[in-house]
């Protein structure tokens, strides 16, 4: 452990396999073994992988996560567009559902969070649960409007008709998702739901990359 902490102190920060190799002056295989040793002690957090370059964040104190995934973990798990976390959000004693994540993303009042949340509509399994959370946070019409916006660009599951009509009949206190933004493009959706959508068609083009 002592050896690992010394090593972590030397390497503290963000690295790729190549930078570690260069810094320690060792072979590639030995570097992989070193990272593996550090990971066992919880001193390495891996970012990326797959089609992306793998990064290693090395720290001198072990990375430990408490509780269950919070809003940003859920959004990054289910959306193709990834989000930088303004803070670490964790939930204890229960698990956050996709439906709750959508509603809380809308409530967050951050434009990028709202944009990322559109991709989660395709993962909704329980439309009544989505309605329940939307009612709790008083964003029923906003959720309906964003669902329609997401359907213009993304492949999204069809919403239960009963829930849709319930959402349409509901009343939200404010018509702004993010004050004072409103869309120039989704006029029909905005009119139907009496909600100001803070996104334009161009904003959804980020999904074209995928």
């Amino acid at each position: 452990m002592k050896k690992c902490i010394d090593l972590a102190e030397e390497l503290k920060g963000l690295h790729t396999l190549e930078t570690i190799q260069k810094e320690l002056g060792i072979k590639r295989n030995t570097t992989i073994k070193t990272v593996s040793l550090l990971r066992k002690e919880g001193l390495v957090e891996t970012i990326g992988g797959g089609r992306k370059k793998r990064w290693y964040r090395i720290n001198t104190v072990p990375f430990r996560k408490y509780g269950n995934s919070g809003l940003y973990d859920m959004l990054n798990k289910y959306s193709r567009i990834k989000l930088w976390k303004p803070y670490e959000h964790r939930i204890f004693g229960r698990k956050m559902s996709v439906e709750e994540a959508i509603v809380r993303a809308v409530v967050s009042g951050r434009i990028r969070t709202v944009l990322v949340s559109l991709d989660l509509f395709n993962h909704v399994k329980n439309w009544s649960r989505l309605y329940k959370y939307a009612k709790e946070y008083d964003v029923r019409r906003k959720i309906g409007a964003l669902y329609d916006v997401s359907r213009t660009k993304l492949k999204v599951r069809r919403m239960d008709e009963r829930i849709r009509s319930k959402l349409l009949k509901s009343k939200d206190k404010s018509k702004y998702i993010i004050k004072p933004f409103k869309s120039k493009d989704f006029l029909e959706i905005q009119k139907r739901w009496n909600v100001c959508v803070p996104l334009n068609k161009a904003d959804l083009e980020v999904y074209d990359e995928w």
Partner: protein, 216 residues
């Protein structure tokens, strides 16, 4: 002593008993545990933004057989002292926005790095820089050792510290003077590596403020 699991358990219990959402800020050793810089803590320090929230948590803790302790022994001749509630070896220090000679600024609230939800209890963990500043304000036994751990194990952004010192000193107590003493003790007694420029800057802020106030 309380470890992170016990702390999470008691937060969970409070969260289940609450009837509405309450936000609080965790500071000191309790916050350090979430950054993995400390294994256990003597007390759970919590800061509330309003009296109503504090009273609600206080009532829940009292129903769980926590009893009030006198603050005189721990915070002798200090103002803005917390409500101390204790059960066996678990102690809660419940502050209300002001923490001795320090106050929870809006910038500190924005700097919060972790938000944990325990049912209706939303616990916000202040940043490491703010933990250091608050340790200077409370000045209890072990606080210097804790700060040494933070600086050596994780490292802190010193510019955040100096910016906050200016904010804290404005129209209030000359916090920079306390911080200067605190940093000097860390540097000289505990041999903590603190940049010279930081100490110089804190000293300058303190001197300037003292001259300004004596001149009034």
């Amino acid at each position: 002593m309380v470890d992170v699991k016990e702390q999470n358990d008691i937060f969970g219990l409070i969260g289940r008993k609450l009837k509405r959402k309450i936000e609080c800020f965790v500071i000191g050793g309790s916050a350090m545990m979430y950054y993995n810089v400390k294994e256990n803590t003597k007390d759970i320090d919590i800061v509330f933004l309003n009296e109503k929230d504090r009273t609600e948590i206080e009532n829940i803790l009292r129903k769980e057989d926590f009893t009030e302790r006198n603050t005189r022994f721990l915070y002798h001749r200090k103002k803005n002292v917390p409500i101390l509630l204790q059960k066996y070896d678990m102690r809660f220090d419940l502050f209300l926005r002001d923490i001795i000679c320090f106050w929870l600024s809006d910038e500190m609230i924005e700097r919060v790095e972790k938000v944990y939800e325990f049912g209706d209890l939303i616990v916000k963990i202040v940043s490491l820089e703010d933990i250091v500043l608050l340790k200077c304000a409370t000045e209890r036994a072990g606080d210097r050792a804790d700060v040494k751990e933070i600086i050596e194990k994780v490292g802190i952004k010193w510019d955040v510290i100096t910016e906050e010192v200016v904010r804290q000193t404005k129209d209030r107590e000359i916090f920079s003077v306390f911080l200067y003493d605190f940093l000097m003790e860390l540097k000289e007694d505990l041999k903590v590596d603190i940049p010279k420029e930081v100490i110089k800057k804190v000293r300058t802020i303190g001197e300037r403020e003292m001259v300004k106030r004596l001149g009034k």
